[in-house]
């Protein structure tokens, strides 16, 4: 059994994992760390899927991911 029982579920897990690490830092630093991590390591189609979820309200994503969203680079459609 894999994690993606629903589309993009795996990305939620991955984004939340990064958030959990960054949550131990001061909030501003955490936002910066999370967004730059995703910008540096997530391929555009992963970011595109992340934005699909964010645009739909970001259900299941930790608050830090939502807070960092404005700093995440939105890939070309």
């Amino acid at each position: 059994m894999s994690l993606e029982t629903r589309p993009h579920d795996k990305l939620i897990v991955m984004a939340n994992q990064i958030a959990k690490f960054m949550e131990s830092k001061p909030h501003a630093e955490g936002i910066e760390g999370l967004s730059s991590h995703i910008n540096d390591f997530w391929e555009p189609r992963m970011r595109r899927q992340l934005f699909e979820m964010l645009d739909a309200g970001g259900a299941g994503l930790r608050p830090l991911v939502l807070d960092a969203a404005p700093l995440i680079r939105r890939p070309k459609p």
Binding site: S2, Q17, F21, K25, E43, R45, M46
Partner: protein, 964 residues
Amino acid sequence: MKDFIIPDRDFGTPAAKSKTMVTLTIDGFDVTVPEGTSIMRAAAEAGISVPKLCATDSVEAFGSCRLCLVEIEGRNGTPASCTTPVAAGLKVSTQNTRLKKLRRGVMELYISDHPLDCLTCSANGDCELQDMAGAVGLRDVRYEAVETHFKAKNTSGEANPQWVPKDDSNPYFTYDPAKCIVCSRCVRACEEVQGTFALTIQGRGFDSRVSFGAKTDTALTSDCVSCGACVQACPTATLQENSIIDIGTPERSVITTCAYCGVGCSFKAEMRGDELVRMVPYKHGKANRGHSCVKGRFAYGYATHKDRILSPMIRDAIIDPWREVSWAEAMDFAADRMRGIQAKYGQQSVGVITSSRCTNEEAYLVQKLTRAVFMNNNTDTCARVCHSPTGYGLGQTFGTSAGTQDFDSVEETDVVIVIGANPVNGHPVFASRLTKRLRQGAKLIVIDPRRTEMVEGPHYKADHHLALTPGTNVAVISAMAHVIVTEGLMDEAFIRERCDWDAFQDYAEFIAAPHHAPEAVELLTKVPAADVRAAARLFAKGGNGAIYYGLGVTEHSQGSTTVIGIANLAMLTGNIGRPGVGVNPLRGQNNVQGSCDMGSFPHELPGYRHVKNDDARAVFERVWGVSIDNEPGLRIPNMLDAAVEGTFKGLYCQGEDILQSDPDTKHVAAGLAAMECVIVHDLFLNETANYAHVFFPGSSFLEKDGTFTNAERRINRVRKVMAPKQGYADWEVTQLFANAMLGKTGGAGWGYTHPSQIMDEIALTTPSFAGVSYERLETLGSVQWPCNEANPEGTPLMHVDGFVRGKGRFIRTEYVATDEKTGPRFPLLLTTGRILSQYNVGAQTRRTANVVWHAEDVLEVHPHDAEVRGIHHGAWVRLASRSGETTLRAEITDKVSPGVVYTTFHHPETQANVITTDFSDWATNCPEYKVTAVQVSPSNGPSEWQEDYAAQAEQSRRILPAAE
């Protein structure tokens, strides 16, 4: 030593390390040597070889053969030159009438109990006893021995009780006691060089015999690990490689680098014609210093195994049988498909996986293929699934992913932490160097859920074994840091001078919080708090502290956090930037370091420069004449996810078996099955090839030129000793494919004619390799990067005058439990690892005689867990997780704690990775191999999945006869 081909001189005794020099006179010549040098070695330095049998420079002097006698003016008698140290002003003579007579008498006695069958002896021409008989002018043996060790029957035809038959139980060497002169070199090599203590001298006087362990043991059943050190040390045919017995002596030798683990041992490939006769560890190899393990020394037979595929093959669909075709047709077919996929699904729909087993030059070309021909950054390498968290963690804290030391550094270590690594099995030649230091008294802290071979061995024992629950590395490392900070044990001067003080204060405040205390995490980690405190104190105040770690650190959902924690610990205690200390990732595969250096990661160009950086891209854009994508590409797990989703359709996979080695086999299989063109480039039809459409046959490390970079960042030459059996070295195959792709669009092709040109391009584009060239490697033997104008001879130690990033940066390491949790359905934790005789997915070692040591993967279960489940030793058990299930045999052992089970992943029949899940490291997606919740129950045999898999694999490996 037997070195008649390239005479690596044997100096008789090891080099002395003293800085004080002493001058003496030997045979009238003045010689100046370090204090503590033996007279024998001093003579050798002056070019005078004193006859000897029991001395060799890989082991300490022993003084038993009495052949190396010398006279010293003003001293009585004729002392042995091997055990007599030099002293200022000594006047030594090594050759005169008295000494000649004594030596000849000694040789007469030796020869009286030795068969005179030199012509048919396997050591003929390569025997020190023969050489010494010649050297002392032995012309006659006056003694007729009544009793001998070598005659099977005495003169009346009765069996000779002193005669012992040959022991040929080991597949690689034979012990023939009839040829033994009891010089003890083998016993000493086993003790001093390897550290296994498998050999001993049994009996005394005339009854003295070399023996493997107890009287009832054979070479195979004893503790012997088949490293070959004894065979190498033996001056006669007593311990002889079977390949020499079968083939005869070699006629030339070529220095090259082992293609197994990340230690990167240098070997002499000894050849006769284009047949490899034997591999002998190279004394001047700076990683191994003349030592080897069973894999590098003996397990090279896979290169000529009958399973090796020598013809390119293609097929339209994976349900079809393979069709052998010409290279040209295979290239055309593959290029057509890949171009077609990109035309239909877009530029980003294909990618590559570079090999951590191939050379730097080959990895460089494969990532260049994706960046400059496919025009995307979809490249990854097996480091994704092993040391990618090292890259992230050390990069964040120190500024570079580089391991900080060379292997020689261990000789100056006082306290060693080994965490999540079992070098005795995984990095055996390094382990020999480490355990040698431990036997000298260095302290040892092992952090591992299992009682591995590293915890206790011959004449060493861990001072602290923190047997933690799998998945709690961060909690344990943080608890140690908590103790160091709250008890004031840190090296404040170092931190103030070398580290970012603000970051330290933030970290200190974080780590001093009570929830990091050993007592607070004890319930979680199952490690007694007192042990953690004692270990932390020892590491902080025990002198030079070094940390060695492996995949037990990285392959967790918090792998990167643990690496950061380790770096914090080293900075806290000031253990960075000098010999004997440091943070030392033990890399898995031979060139995993190199493949990372070469830009195999999807976000980084060669030399670890992010693709977002315009200046880094500009360098390559200028040299390659293309425009490089500035977005990161897909990592291996992302490629598979994208494949399942339908946006990733084509993969060129060189020298890597992702179906077997990557976690959650079913998911990997689903990803591969969804692709329209999978190109596998390998020696064998590996498991991944079951899903391939194109097969490019690969060349072995014996068949190509190139370089490997080992765990100490050492760039070692790989040299071609025979022509590629399938026609092309792997770099040539990649080039053929790149040119076939470029030909479809009329682009200019690549034109490398030798790997040295590829290295020149790497040096041109990559600052840390700027000073590397084949010419320099010829001169220096090997070099550790960074090698550039500032460090023309390389960099053995990193961060000597300051961290690469400037100031070392402490980072908070909050423990986050993995989502992989035990529960009623899956109450046990599975952790995985490897054993000495097998390597990675076993594609190589399973095709050698190494299978005598490990013919199948077994599951280690604690007696308590076995008892409640009704499982007995050797029984088939079913191992199940939420990902899948398999069956294998159980081994009942208390090496694992209750609640923990363990297995290896060397055999495709077992496929341990059917069980592992797709959880991964938060920063790098490195899979969490080391923690899987499982259940174990009795079973009757292979699971349905295993039977289906075997059937599918067999179908998929059919090859049609070539249509000529």
